[in-house]
Symmetry: C2
């Protein structure tokens, strides 16, 4: 199994965490997003959308981080990344999707480049854009976490799962873009709890082999 990814991609970062939590060995293939590798014919043949990550099995290629993580959870069920009860699963997926649908895609590299190159948006306004969607999304996530007895040490109970896997790379990037996280004490507490785990730490951008060279 091979994962095509890039150290700074939040979506690849999510899959790295899931692989680590499940202790799955997986080779990594670097797709250098800054150099434009994602648009090469070779990579488009792997993933026609030209995004990372893509998971290559013996005879299939899977795209989209959440689809990949659900696949890993279904084929390597221990430890589970989703609870077993349908209402609880919907809660976890709801939190994960606020981040994966309504924050992250608005702030990814392709969008920030489009704002700069096609709409001539200056750096200050690009940063404000970034912060706007983090705030809009975290304003939704924080009360879901703070006001529910389902929240434990992590987003759902006392084991890390899909929601934490989405939350951590998003907080990590929000810090890079100087987002004010003081209104989100529950998010911050869970981020710290995750950061202390090896599976999350090893998945960090700065701990990837290409970081020293490209960072």
């Amino acid at each position: 199994m091979k994962i095509h990814g890039y150290f700074r991609s939040s979506a690849a970062y999510r899959v790295r965490i899931a692989l680590n939590l499940k202790n799955i060995e997986c080779d990594t293939v670097l797709v250098n997003l800054q150099a434009g590798d994602q648009s090469s014919p070779a990579y488009r043949a792997i993933n026609p959308q030209g995004r990372v990550p893509a998971l290559e099995t013996d005879d299939h290629i899977l795209v989209q981080s959440l689809a990949i993580i659900e696949y890993l959870d279904e084929t390597s069920p221990s430890p589970p990344l989703l609870p077993s009860d349908p209402l609880a699963r919907a809660r976890v997926r709801g939190i994960a999707n606020i981040i994966a649908c309504d924050i992250h895609p608005l702030n990814n590299l392709a969008v920030l480049n489009y704002l700069r190159d096609d709409l001539s948006v200056d750096e200050e306004n690009r940063t404000r854009w970034y912060q706007q969607w983090v705030r809009q999304g975290f304003d939704g996530v924080e009360p879901l976490l703070a006001n529910s007895s389902d929240t434990g040490k992590f987003c759902h109970g006392d084991s890390p799962g899909l929601a934490d896997i989405c939350l951590v790379p998003q907080v990590f990037n929000a810090q890079r873009f100087n987002c004010d996280l003081s209104p989100y004490p529950t998010i911050a507490r869970i981020f710290d709890a995750c950061a202390s785990l090896d599976a999350f730490d090893k998945a960090q951008p700065s701990n990837q082999p290409e970081a020293a060279q490209l960072g």
Copy 2:
């Protein structure tokens, strides 16, 4: 069970299709996005993110359309909206997520309003923005559909499922924004196949009770 939605919301449209496919009775509560109902304290108490749809059960509120649809599929399994094989499930979720993560959130009302009001982007450039993300996403979806023997009458085999549920509202909106869909013959063919089904037709924005008044 009540669904909080709005006739023009793609995400609410997805959930309406899923409910219809499964023949689940569900009351609808109108959240008038054009009037700003989503930001009212009353609605924020239901969904702190201020987005539609939200599904209200007897004692829970579920948010995010894909989480809601997976919940409906887990609790009312017939007809299934996902295949049973993990690789096939990942394929369907991958297609669904290209649309639900990488097209739709970039083009929703909150984002288009931000471009207009906060970044002074004119109508022509907002339309170009809209078309850019449809093209970027559909360029990824079309080959996944056209080059796979898993594709049938619908995105996966000959029964409609989660990928079709995401595809149809996206094509519907792409047409509203005059996107050129000629490079996507497989997407167009599947859209037509879905459009001929009652479950999809009844879920259309123009067939919702509020359409006559607000459309």
